[in-house]
Amino acid sequence: MTAEPVRILAIETSSRIGGVAVASGPRLLAQEQFTADLRHAGQLLGTMDRLVRAQGWPVGRIDQVYVSAGPGSFTGLRIATAAAKALAFAWPQIRIVAVPSTDVIAQNALQADAAERLANVRQVAVVIDAQRQQLYAALYERRPDEAEPDGQSSGDGQFDEPVARFRTVRPAAVISATQLLAVSRKPLLVLGPALVSHRKALTQEGVFFLDESYWQPRPDQVHRCGWRRAQAGQFTTADELAPLYLRRPEAVERWEHLHGKT
């Protein structure tokens, strides 16, 4: 007996450029990036519609939705989250996987053409602009095949790829460029959209940067990370699904600062 292939929709709206991918189990069928920056609200549904129709899928027969859950643009994260929640409300059989957006970007470092750089580094840092001179950053390390995964990050945040095995050393957190340099081990390979503004602050001996073409999160990588998590049973309910903000609203931070709370 062969199982029906799993029909998957992957949504990436955490960053400046958004996009959608459709996949059948582990196999990517198609992906499309939005044609303009920061037009996620206007382009998400039309893109989903085109891709799903092109596969001849009735919407009600989608099985899983993978969401790039953050950190990133708050509004962008809410667009993907609202869409995933609404889809699961419309068709309760749909299961959701939330993927950290830093994992999505880290996948870019595993592409064959970036692998050369990766072979000689100790750690990989993914950096996303957190505004107010800070970064959302996550640190990864190649995991030797023989090593036991450490208990803390077992399963969660690890992903296998043909090129290298990663484990999450530090999941995404708000951190300054200086702090990131202090906690990371060199040689360090850095990628992510925050390099547009923070490259200089991260420049140091033993720090290397991937080319700009690797900085943006992509929908096919959301699918790749999501599929691994789905295989590990890491689903989230539509009610639990929440953007990974990592930062409170600015008004709250300011108010607490003014009133002496931390």
Binding site: A41, Q43, L45, R78, A82, A238, A251
Partner: protein, 343 residues
């Protein structure tokens, strides 16, 4: 005949709402999750806090709307949402959810102007039978607008606020007087114990014949009254007697109500309307309702006021107005984007 069932969503400011309305009039469910307590500390709506709460409230509100209406998801004929005007970061949550639901169910999607929705709230249930043509005043924390309404979809803007909305002025004056947020109910309750003639605050009518509004001047007048001219004096509010605070609230409310009533009547006279419609959060204010009722009666005008539960932001008004667009085949594309201003 099977009624047309429309699911409406609303997230333009600080209420997350979902409703199911039959044939544009019969409200099967109207669920509103208010966030007022989240914004109280800040004396006004904080967009990012509102947007986060919309995400959290979305599914509980939707589920409750279906449970209370007792209809199944397959029975919904169209999905509607307020897409303007409002806070973009807030609007986009309801907008994305509504588009996704419409797409997922293969049903028409309808975008609604939130202010036009407020006007429609007068027509929910039985209150609004045969009310056109009319002059409509929509007055809330975000809007103060006068329309000539020839039908539910034929609305012509006659005037609107050039600065603060009337409800916003209530919030700001409540803040000056150190009253709890939201300011409308606080001011109204305090004003009951005050003398509206004790302190005369300025009424701003703008140019002759203008039907626009301006409420920033009166807010400033209250501020000067409490803190001295140009705010050079000390803040007297802490030491003020309850009586004086009540007089300020009553005098402020009287000035705002007088301007609203006079402009509305002038608008009705200009287009020879026989009916006046009143909606929006400030329509819950008794002083406004009573005075507009008295003046309308004197002039033989028929006043229709939204039921109090539909004065504040809700989704029944969105689904109610969407019914008329549904009947007219006026659907929207899934590329519809949110807009901060009224379109």
């Amino acid at each position: 005949m099977k009624p047309t069932l429309i699911l409406g969503l609303e997230s333009s400011c600080d209420e997350t709402a979902a409703a199911i309305v039959a044939d544009g009039r019969r409200v099967l469910s109207s669920v509103v999750a208010s966030q007022a307590n989240l914004h109280e500390t800040y004396g006004g709506v904080v967009p990012e806090i509102a947007a986060r709460a919309h995400i959290e409230n979305l599914l509980p509100v939707l589920r409750a709307a279906f449970d209370r209406a007792g209809v199944s998801r397959q029975q919904i004929d169209a999905v509607a949402v307020a897409y303007c005007p409002g806070l973009i970061v807030a609007l986009v949550v309801g907008l994305t959810a509504a588009k996704t639901l419409a797409w997922a169910w293969g049903r028409p999607f309808i975008g609604i102007n939130h202010i036009h929705g407020h006007l429609q709230s007068v027509m929910l249930e039985e209150a609004g039978q045969d009310c056109f043509p009319a002059v409509a005043l929509v007055v809330s924390g975000g809007h103060t607008s006068l329309y000539h309404a020839r039908g539910p979809l034929e609305l012509e803007l006659m005037g609107r606020t050039r600065d603060d909305a009337a409800g916003e002025a209530f919030d700001k004056v409540a803040m000056i007087l150190k009253l709890p947020y939201p300011g409308g109910p606080s001011i109204e309750s305090l004003a009951r114990r005050g003398d509206p003639a004790a302190i005369r605050f300025p009424r701003t009518y703008l140019e002759k014949d203008s039907l626009d509004f301006s409420f920033s001047g009166i807010k400033t007048a209250v501020l000067y009254h409490c803190r001295g001219q140009n705010m050079l004096g000390e803040d007297r509010v802490e030491r003020m007697s309850e009586r004086e605070k009540a007089d300020i609230a009553a005098g402020f409310q009287a000035a705002v109500v007088e301007v609203l009533v006079r402009k509305t009547l002038a608008a009705a006279a200009r287009v020879s309307a026989r009916t006046v419609l009143l909606g929006g959060g400030v329509a819950a204010n008794s002083a406004l309702r009573d005075q507009l009722q008295d003046r309308c009666r004197e002039r033989g005008l028929d006043l229709r006021v939204a039921a109090k539960r539909y004065c504040t932001d809700n989704a029944a008004m969105v689904a109610g107005l969407a019914y008329h667009r549904f009947q007219a085949g006026l659907f929207d594309d899934l590329s519809l984007e949110p807009a901060a201003i009224s379109l």
